[in-house]
């Protein structure tokens, strides 16, 4: 029997469920639950591995434990994607509602006539003038004398100005999803390697028996 008592070590600290920013928000609940599932599964595996003598028996159980946690993570990532889409739609409806302003073309002509369309629109954002901004954002950038990059910058500025809470939540969702993916990858890579080693322990034992025959 192989028993090196080797430890799989600890997960990186940022994999801890408490590291999820804004975790109290219901839209981040799936991330917190999945993070807890990954963290707890890892702790169980780490503790069990230390005391198990016949590693070949550990392999199939470890696979099941990890698969459950990964399935929970996939479900959470899917929920986070949906929550993000909802928030993005909400932000877009506030920042650039597609209402088809009858004066849109005239507003864009006015914007284009400014010395700097970008500065003019940035000032519009700061003063809360959503109508002027929407006229620019709902048409190709060049019609308002903007570049595509300037349009993106204005959109980001408007989102943060008009919907600060939603934008922060979207950022937290993105960070939480990235965190979950990193943790899942770390666990998958580490445990998959161990499972291969643990499974081979059974073959080694069988061959040892043949050698001694």
């Amino acid at each position: 029997m192989k028993n090196k008592n080797s430890s799989i070590g600890d997960l990186p600290l940022d994999a801890h469920p408490g590291a999820i920013k804004g975790g109290d928000n219901p839209l981040l609940t799936p991330a917190k639950r999945a993070s807890e599932s990954l963290w707890d599964s890892w702790a169980k595996l780490r503790d069990t591995e230390k005391s198990v003598t016949d590693k070949s028996k550990l392999a199939p159980i470890a696979q099941k434990v990890v698969e459950k946690a990964l399935a929970t993570t996939d479900k959470a990532l899917d929920s986070l994607r949906k929550n993000r889409e909802l928030l993005t739609a909400k932000v877009n409806s506030v920042v650039s509602p597609k209402t088809g302003d009858p004066l849109g073309a005239e507003i864009r002509s006015h914007i284009k006539a400014q010395k700097s369309a970008f500065i003019f629109l940035a000032a519009a954002v700061k003063s809360g003038d959503k109508r002027t901004l929407a006229a620019a954002l709902n048409a190709p950038a060049y019609l308002s004398g903007l570049t595509t990059e300037q349009c993106s910058s204005l959109l980001a500025l408007a989102q943060k100005t008009f919907c600060p809470e939603e934008v922060l939540l979207i950022e937290n969702i993105d960070k939480a999803a990235a965190r979950l993916s990193r943790t899942a990858e770390h666990i998958s890579t580490t445990i998959a390697g161990r499972i291969r080693t643990w499974s081979n322990a059974a073959d080694d034992d069988a061959l040892k028996g043949l050698k001694n025959a």
Binding site: T48, K50, D54, K64, K68, T73, D74, K75, A184
Partner: protein, 78 residues
């Protein structure tokens, strides 16, 4: 939803038993017979199955998801 048949599945019962013994502090993969003291097996299996083993509206075992597929590939050396 989980069916009564699902709750009789040896795989689900064994997974619940593993979880129960682990929660009770047992750390060997060779489980003792039966259940830890003070556990209602039927209720425990049901709660464990609802929490871990099945999706909510189908009988497809959880596990056939992108991350799980990737994990299996890694185990097979992919």
């Amino acid at each position: 939803m989980l069916s009564e048949e699902d709750l009789k599945s040896p795989e689900i019962i064994e997974a619940a038993r593993f979880d129960a013994w682990f929660t009770a502090g047992h750390r060997s993969v060779t489980l003792p017979d039966g259940w830890p003291d003070g556990i209602d097996p039927e209720g425990y299996v049901r709660r464990h199955a609802e929490k871990c083993c099945k999706t909510t509206d189908t009988n497809v075992p959880v596990g056939d998801t992108p991350l799980v597929k990737r994990f299996r590939q890694l185990i097979n050396g992919g």
